[in-house]
């Protein structure tokens, strides 16, 4: 019971912190989107608190950390009054509805989510990348009150995992200090909030029968589901990458600068979690340029939105890799040494691209890893291409996101050979699934059928 109370308290604080960030960025959404978004943003804010404490040499005692978290909640809520007014407007204009036929879907989704939450709480962090990196750092940070601790006295040859993002380390420190020996439960907060957000995003365009089925299909992507209770960087990275694209699509639609900036901030968070996301952010830039060109009819103006979008990612990358890792942590990390030599020879790029397709996507192993989800996407895409021959603007946006991942991951693998197909690309592909889901939710075929079903239902 006490553990439940502790988790509930931290989660509420995360909600408050996320609310502050959303208010600061002037993000206004319906409650069904806004509430899960606040929790996701709150987890992001909390992950940065131990990093800031470390930079200021504040020891990780229970008192210091609790105080720092409360302070963070207060600091990001400087526009509390505006936020409360917004919430009042938001909730007064919305009402919760649920149809009876949603129930079987929601029950299945709940059953799938609950067992993930249990395993997340019960099992210790398992992946080697974590136990030989951020988890051991967090464990000894709690014991020795600093991230620069005795793990640096251990033989670290053949290991670069302690250089990885302190996103996981920070959250693990908070949850371990709160009395959860394996930390990890923050991943369930991300998972649940993300599924709630996705469900409503799909429901916004599709009939709830299709929405329920598609979300179940998304949850049943075997490899991705496994990482909803095994802490690693990729699931969280996929969530923030998706959110960035979601708000970028919103910017393309309404041209409000706040949505572009918010998309940039979320991409920055994704880059903080996995630094190579910066390359994917760069690959996203042409979409912004095209959109700018379409609307403003000039190239020059297109540079500014690109800079707004990329600046948070660039800043976080430079700060974390160059300042925190190389000038603060006791061991040096030479990223340059990881870059492939002879980048002008693109044959390996082609090989990696073919390998990703033949091993991970269009193969028996691929079905084992990702189920039928990719094939469902491909079938719908082809059907739309052949029979409708027109994509809705939103479907185009998410298709572009799918393309960024599809070609971006092999490019990253080409530039950084350490980014292998069997492990890193396999998990990197998690980013493609929510984008595929939202493409399907916006496809004119499914939305057309949904409209007919709704019309029949309302007769």
């Amino acid at each position: 019971m006490s553990v439940f109370c502790v988790v509930a308290l931290i989660t509420i604080l995360q909600g408050i912190a996320g609310f502050g960030v959303a208010t600061l960025c002037n993000i206004k959404l319906a409650p069904r989107f806004f509430v899960p978004l606040c929790f996701l943003l709150g987890v992001a804010v909390f992950s940065l608190v131990p990093l800031c404490m470390q930079l200021l040499f504040v020891p990780f005692t229970f008192f210091n950390t609790a105080l720092a978290l409360l302070l963070a909640c207060v600091l990001v809520n400087v526009k509390l009054k505006t936020g409360i007014n917004h919430v009042n407007t938001m909730f007064s204009g919305s009402r919760f509805t649920m149809r009876l036929y949603e129930l079987p879907f929601l029950l299945v989704i709940t059953a799938i989510v609950l067992i993930s939450v249990w395993r997340c709480f019960y099992l210790p962090p398992t992946p080697r990348d974590i136990t030989s990196g951020t988890e051991v750092m967090a464990e000894y940070a709690v014991k020795e009150k600093t991230m620069i601790n005795s793990i640096f006295t251990v033989d670290l040859q053949r290991n670069n995992n302690h250089y990885k993002s302190s996103f996981v380390t920070g959250l693990q420190i908070i949850y371990k200090l709160a009395g959860l020996p394996f930390g990890q439960v923050w991943l369930s907060v991300i998972f649940i909030s993300f599924i709630v957000f996705l469900y409503h995003a799909v429901c916004a365009t599709l009939h709830r029968v299709f929405a329920g089925l598609l979300v179940i299909a998304f949850l049943a992507v075997p490899e991705m589901y496994g990482y909803t209770f095994m802490v690693l960087f990729d699931y969280s990275n996929a969530v923030f990458f998706f959110l960035s694209f979601y708000f970028l699509a919103m910017y393309f639609e309404d041209r409000q600068a706040k949505h572009l900036l918010f998309a940039g901030v979320l991409m920055g968070m994704a880059t903080y979690i996995r630094s190579e996301t910066l390359l994917l952010a760069l690959l996203t830039a042409p979409a912004i340029l095209l959109n700018q060109l379409k609307n403003a009819k000039k190239w020059v103006g297109g540079v500014k939105p690109i800079l707004v979008f990329l600046a948070p990612s660039g800043f976080i990358y430079l700060f974390f890799m160059n300042v925190f890792i190389n000038h603060y942590m006791p061991a040096q990390y030479n990223v340059g040494a990881l870059v492939r030599q002879h980048l002008y020879n693109v044959r390996p790029l082609l090989n990696i691209f073919l390998q990703v397709n033949s091993q991970l996507i269009f193969s028996g192993d691929g079905v084992g890893l990702y189920g039928w989800f990719i094939f469902l996407f491909c079938a719908l895409f082809l059907a739309e291409l052949l029979f409708v021959r027109k994509f809705t603007p939103n479907a185009r946006n998410f298709l572009f996101g799918v393309l960024v991942i599809y070609i971006g991951l092999p490019i990253i693998g080409f530039i950084l050979p350490i980014f292998d197909v069997e492990n890193t690309t396999k998990r990197g592909l998690f980013k493609i699934f929510p984008l595929m889901l939202l493409y399907m939710a916006n496809s004119s075929l499914l939305t057309g059928i949904s409209r007919r079903l709704t019309a029949w239902e309302n007769k």
Binding site: A111, T131, S132, D155, A220
Partner: protein, 154 residues
């Protein structure tokens, strides 16, 4: 009508081969695991259940130093996994940082530049894990040479 359609769609989805396997091998199996997991809440039990021999053998090695009260200053050479397999012991040897996470003990691989600094070494005699202090440096160098013939698997 839509309720029936919903149930039919969910049933159909989980009848597809990879989905039914996922449901059976993951979700249903996880709920079955929950039955016994909820009665085994000890941290050591949970660690041992998750990491199996990798954890239990590492703790066994570490407890030797705890009993002798020499743990903080000991650096221990642990042979690679293949060495233990050859001697009939199913022990996936964790790398030094993971070993440190499990036990708080400093270990080194035989191929490490720090292997020469080890004070103790682990070996197998009569299918039992033994720990000895390094007294004869020449003999220890031979041991290192022999152990370096084994591949190190992470």
């Amino acid at each position: 009508m839509l309720l029936v359609l919903g149930v039919a769609l969910i049933t159909g989805f989980f009848l597809l081969p990879p989905n039914s396997a996922w449901l059976k091998d993951r979700i249903v199996a996880y709920y079955r695991d929950f039955g016994w997991q909820k009665n085994k809440m000890g941290i050591e039990q949970r660690m041992a259940n998750r990491f199996l021999g990798s954890y239990t053998y590492s703790k066994q090695i570490s407890s030797f130093f705890e009993q002798k009260k020499i743990k903080p200053i000991a650096t221990v050479l642990v042979p690679p996994t293949d060495y233990f397999t050859l001697h009939g012991i199913d022990y996936h040897v964790p790398e030094p940082l993971v070993f440190y996470y499990y036990t708080g003990l400093h270990t080194v691989w035989p191929n490490s530049p720090y292997a020469q600094n080890a004070h103790w070494y682990v070996h197998v005699t009569n299918r039992k894990i033994m720990i000895d202090s390094i007294t004869n440096r020449a003999a220890y160098s031979d041991t290192l040479k022999a152990l370096n013939k084994f591949n190190i698997r992470l």
